[in-house]
């Protein structure tokens, strides 16, 4: 079962479409998910326009909700710990910014029948980058393909397909309504020479 999608463009589109469906309220089904596949040879016909990337946010902040199988939390945490560390250490400023903007939280308390809920709180969003897990694994350059597959399988195997992954765009609410700063005081007059005695 493939919850994350793969490194190939076609399968990434499949999973992004799956995420969008989930965000819109539809269930993520096993049938909708594809195993990672190598990039196809020359396409026989023009491909349809790619679906929008649900992990490329234009908002100030975002929340990504992950529902993880209760017995796979260690896999999920170790895999993401490694991915985020590699992004932060990659030397590419955009990847470092992505890693720095993600805070990872786990819901406290015992697992529910659905599993354990994790959250990425992304604040502020790096608008020029995507937070798409497939892109981060396969296209960022932090892994060779074989390594990426290994991490992919670890994360993918941890996700509860019933809960899946939900990206949610957030706008900042500037509730700290401190009074607007007062107009600056007029600049002091230039010093003048004292009048001659």
């Amino acid at each position: 079962m493939n919850v994350l999608g793969s490194g190939s463009a076609s399968s990434r589109r499949t999973i992004v479409a799956g995420f969008l469906a989930a965000v819109l309220g539809a269930a993520v089904t096993a049938q909708a998910q594809q195993a990672p596949a190598p990039a196809p040879a020359a396409p026989a016909q023009a491909e349809p326009a790619p679906a929008p990337d649900a992990f490329k946010f234009t908002s100030d902040a975002a929340l990504v909700v992950w529902v993880v199988k209760g017995d796979k939390t260690a896999d999920f945490e170790s895999a993401w710990g490694e991915v985020l560390s590699k992004l932060a250490a990659s030397g590419k400023p955009d990847l470092k910014s992505v890693a720095d903007s993600i805070k990872l939280f786990k819901a406290d308390g015992p697992a529910t029948p659905e599993g354990v809920t994790y959250f990425f709180v992304i604040d502020p969003v790096v608008k020029a980058s995507t937070y798409n897990p497939s892109t981060l694994l396969y296209s960022s350059g932090i892994y060779e393909r074989a390594q990426a597959d290994e991490v992919f399988n670890k994360i993918n195997g941890a996700i509860n397909p019933q809960g899946g992954i939900r990206p949610i765009a957030l706008a900042g609410v500037h509730a700290s309504a401190a009074p607007a700063p007062a107009a600056p005081a007029p600049a002091p007059a230039a010093p003048t020479a004292p009048p001659a005695q």
């Binding site: 965000v23 908002s59 709180v121």
Partner: protein
């Protein structure tokens, strides 16, 4: 985001309640309401707000934020410093979901908005409470452990 927070988080949420359940009191620093007290870590408060009343809700949130920022109580100022407020860009039915991230929580401090209003803005609490009551459909609270 229809159903996202309602369904995905349902199992993980600590509790859900209507804001109307907590009437304002005039007592400063009355006993904390356990529903809004967290022992450690971080937390999310999710306010489901009637779409027609988001302006009212944001005005109350702004007053709470101002009051905490200006409080003489260092605990309240500490709460304000680690309190981020967001609005989901999608809706859940007729509700707009506001996500309040408390990171980190101030251990043992009371985050009940009505209590905070009662304590810090006693002269304004009744109208602000009415505004809050009219705008909030329900509140969900979730304690979090920060991993990274």
């Amino acid at each position: 985001m229809s159903r996202v927070l309602a369904t995905v988080l349902a199992g993980a949420l600590l509790a859900s309640s209507a804001v109307a359940a907590q009437a304002p009191t005039s007592a400063a620093r009355s006993p904390a309401s356990p529903d809004y007290v967290f022992p450690a870590g971080s937390a999310l408060l999710l306010f489901y707000v009637n779409r027609a009343h988001t302006t009212d809700f944001e005005a109350v949130a702004a007053r709470i934020s101002q009051a905490l920022d200006a409080s003489a109580d260092p605990v309240r100022r500490q709460q304000a410093a680690s309190w981020r407020m967001f609005r989901s860009q999608d809706s859940v039915g007729d509700a707009v979901v506001y996500v309040f991230l408390l990171d980190p929580v101030v251990a043992g401090a009371d985050y009940d908005p009505v209590r905070l209003l009662s304590e810090s803005l006693p002269a304004e609490v009744q109208p602000l409470y009415e505004q809050l009551k009219a705008s909030v459909i329900r509140v969900e609270r979730l304690a979090l452990a920060k991993l990274r």
